[in-house]
């Protein structure tokens, strides 16, 4: 933890996934003298084999909690997960977009539902094992900063967080590299020290994959493949499963320059294919913009995937959105001193907790890439940085 390290003990609800990162996060909080409780969210009741939140993962989390001597609870948020993550996932693919369910899970469950439960139960803050940091700048402004281990940085999936959420968020492992996290876990004799990281979406099995999951929920439709001149190139078996930028699996690999999917139109059941140059655009219109504090214009570094490069771009705000008012405009919150360890701050001065849906953005921005950039698949998040710190995010159209 960086500047958000509190000097006085806090009642912290630490989200445990059963993986090594959250295990060590909990241990670090204990070392700093906080009163920690562990929680796993039960989100998906179906098959799960990707190493996040399956029954055996919950067992791992429980055992870690037992080893650390902390309370452990499981909260069933399956209904909200269905409503805010799974159903939209299906609807987005059905519409030809490429959603990011882990980001929606953060937006609606991890940093919304869980926070409201934490508030109801009398906690001071919520902690997770994300590889990222919360830093406090001049005037008490909080930002998500990339984790110390660039290869593992997870600031991208936390890019929707605003001042209210950040005031209640502790990210203990962000200062450590992955190797240091594992070493810490081994030193403590934790059973999850050597556990493989989970990479994939928790409700998509590694055996069936996305295709099998979607086939069960969306009537997959075959489509025609054409080039930029409209010439017929063939067909695809399921137009909803085709992603912009895709090259493989289209039956186009027979010699010549590589060709890529440059557009997908689900309504017209058409996939447009073109050369690599056609994949590159100079601008992307984005919606559902969220901001760390206030809408930001001008030069930023824009990152269009979890571990992609953050490239220079100019942000133009077309509509800041009605939501980017009071709470997010506050650059300094009364009582944000709570997490900075100011003992004179009492409960009634403490900042509020996130309201339901407060991390859903509605701003509209254009991202003007300094250099032509591969088209971002509609539905994907683009996170905006100043240096290593997140200033906002939006969803590509």
């Amino acid at each position: 933890m960086t500047a958000a390290t509190a000097e006085r003990p806090l009642k912290v609800l630490c989200a445990l996934s059963g993986g090594v990162d959250s295990s060590v996060a909990a241990a670090l909080l204990l070392e700093r003298g906080h009163d920690v409780s562990g929680v796993t969210m039960k989100l998906w009741g179906g098959e799960s084999d990707t190493g996040c939140c399956s029954v055996s993962d919950v067992d791992d989390a429980r055992r870690v909690a037992q080893q650390l001597g902390i309370d452990f609870h499981v909260f069933n948020f399956g209904d909200e997960f269905g409503e805010h993550v799974v159903e939209p996932y299906i609807a987005e693919y059905a519409a030809g977009r490429t959603p990011n369910p882990c980001i929606e899970c953060n937006r609606h469950l991890k940093f919304d539902r869980l926070y409201r439960r934490a508030e109801a139960l009398g906690f001071d803050a919520v902690a997770t094992g994300h590889h990222a940091r919360v830093v406090v700048g001049p005037g008490g402004v909080r930002r998500v900063k990339r984790g110390a281990d660039a290869a593992k940085d997870q600031s991208y999936v936390l890019s929707m967080l605003d001042q209210v959420a950040l005031a209640r968020t502790l990210l203990p492992i962000g200062e450590l590299t992955k190797a240091e996290v594992r070493a810490h876990a081994e030193r403590l004799g934790m059973r999850t020290a050597a556990k493989r990281d989970s990479q994939d979406v928790c409700f998509i099995t590694s055996t069936g994959g996305r295709a099998e999951f979607l086939a069960r929920h969306v009537p997959l439709a075959p489509g025609r493949m054409i080039d930029e001149e409209g010439r017929e190139l063939g067909t695809v078996p399921a137009v909803q499963l085709v992603t912009i930028g895709q090259r493989k699996g289209l039956g186009l690999e027979g010699g010549g320059a590589p060709r890529y999917v440059i557009d997908v139109d689900v309504k017209r059941r058409t996939v447009v294919v073109g050369g690599e140059h056609s994949l590159y655009v100079s601008r992307v219109r984005c919606v559902n913009a969220t901001w760390s504090t206030v809408p930001v214009e001008g030069e930023v570094l824009a990152q269009a995937s979890a571990h992609g490069a953050a490239l220079p771009a100019r942000l133009e705000v077309l509509d800041p959105g009605p939501r980017s008012s009071p709470s997010s405009r506050r650059s300094s919150l009364p009582g944000s001193a709570l997490l900075d360890g100011d003992p004179s701050v009492s409960g009634s001065d403490a900042p509020g907790w996130p309201r339901r849906g407060s991390l859903v953005g509605d701003g509209i921005v254009d991202v003007h890439w300094d250099e032509p950039h591969r088209r971002v698949a509609p539905g994907q998040t683009i996170a905006f940085y100043h240096g290593d710190e997140v200033v906002g995010a939006a969803i590509a159209t």
């Binding site: 070392e31 796993t40 080893q67 609870h73 069933n76 439960r117 139960l121 403590l188 004799g189």
Partner: protein, 416 residues
């Protein structure tokens, strides 16, 4: 910086004991109101078990003196079970608990006799899941949780093609979530009349502590019981089978329990079961009266203190709630604008242990199929609370619950 010490192996026990003060913290600090989930082991049961955990180590299947003593001990327990249920000792099959007994009843009958299995919508998963696995028929219940006898009659009187022939009807004696007593005599009567070839099974796990079950042995063909619900240890129960009922064994091996359930018997557990059952039966009438009063005070006070609270499945009449169809030990409420998970957490923190609905494999609470079957709307069912009393419950348990629960509900209603 505090040094964090990882505990492994045996340590978690010790750790819990350290954190909570003493190893017998359960009695000292907490109000345990989850007897429907499990009960404290009765002193008689513990005393009876100890020799078989210390020096007596014979295997009941053996021939020598130590084996014969073990055999005698479990056969004495067998007699206790037989008497409590009005059955023949030869019909008592000891199992690892109620779930195994239920599985043995449903699959054991079906594997041997085929046909269709019929059950009710509010059964425990140990019966319901088995019946669903066999594509059986699930009969609905009414808003009190009582089986719909008309719909049962319809299910039994199906045209008798070979495939639709009913071979087993399984209806629990008492529902574990809400405490509703099923009209088993009516069920038996209907089955004998409309499907005379069918067997009747009852999961009596929650009935034993509260009802006189001595008539079951005469009228019902298969009965499941579980020790840890009546002051015995966990991990042991029995299926009591009427003479002449043919069952396919689920567990094969050394042929124990008259070939119906192989495996070396859990001698200490069975001895504990017998002692606990004997004590339960002997004290039942006074326990029911004493606990019934505790239950009434608990339920009535909570209903008065919590605005909009609903006592599940209980009709309120001019002169007060009619709890005649519920066992003495269970209070079940539905609290609008409350989430059970959050309430149970706050109660737990203040030493009141209770539950709501059932847990799934990961330990999270699942929406209750029992409440859904009773037609309770989802919003109400989300705020369900089960407080269950037992042989060891006291006035101070009720006092503590009344101190903690209403303020916790009030607090949570501030955070919709």
């Amino acid at each position: 910086m505090r040094r964090v010490v990882i505990r492994g192996g045996l340590a978690p026990h010790r750790h819990f004991a350290e954190r909570s003060g003493t190893a017998s913290s359960l009695q000292a600090m907490a109000s345990y109101l989850d007897h429907a989930a499990s009960t404290r082991v009765r002193p008689e049961a513990l005393d009876a078990m100890l020799p078989f955990l210390r020096d007596e180590c014979g295997n009941p299947s053996g021939a020598h003196g130590a084996a014969r003593r073990a055999r005698a001990a479990i056969d004495n327990a067998r007699d206790v079970v037989a008497e409590a249920l009005g059955a023949d000792p030869g019909g008592v099959v000891f199992t690892s608990g109620g779930t195994e007994a239920d599985n043995l009843a449903v699959f054991g009958v079906h594997d041997r006799h085929g046909g269709t299995v019929v059950t009710s919508a509010t059964e425990h998963h140990a019966v319901l899941d088995c019946v669903r696995a066999l594509d059986g028929v699930v009969v609905p219940v009414d808003s009190r949780g009582v089986i719909d006898l008309e719909r049962l009659a319809e299910a039994l009187a199906e045209p008798s093609e070979a495939a639709r022939r009913v071979s087993l009807v399984s209806i629990m004696t008492v529902n574990n979530e809400v405490g509703t007593i099923q009209p088993l005599r009516d069920v038996v009567r209907l089955v004998r009349e409309l499907a005379p070839d069918a067997l009747v099974h009852t999961d009596a796990v929650q009935g034993v502590p509260w009802l006189d079950v001595a008539w079951l042995g005469q009228e019902v063909d298969l009965i499941s019981i579980s020790a840890h619900k009546f002051g015995g240890p966990k991990g042991v129960g029995a299926l009591v089978v009427d003479r002449g009922v043919q069952l396919a064994a689920r567990q094969l091996g050394g042929g124990q329990e008259q070939e119906r359930r192989s495996g070396t018997q859990n001698v200490a557990g069975i001895v504990g079961l017998g002692a606990a059952l004997a004590a339960t039966v002997a004290e039942r009438a006074t326990t029911v009266e004493r606990v019934g009063k505790l239950r009434d005070r608990l339920a009535d006070s909570l209903l008065a203190a919590i605005p909009d609270a609903v006592e599940t499945g209980v009709e309120r009449r001019g002169d007060g709630p009619d709890r005649s169809n519920k066992v003495a030990g269970i209070v079940h409420l539905c609290l609008p604008r409350i989430e059970s998970e959050a309430l149970l957490y706050l109660m737990d923190k203040q030493g009141i242990y209770a539950s709501a609905a059932s847990s799934c494999a990961s330990g999270a609470m699942e929406p209750s199929h029992v409440l859904a079957a009773m037609g309770i709307p989802r919003d109400l069912a989300r705020g369900s609370l089960r407080l269950s009393l037992g042989w060891s419950s006291t006035e101070s348990d009720v006092d503590a619950a009344l101190d903690v629960i209403p303020p916790a509900v009030e607090r949570l209603r501030l955070f919709p």
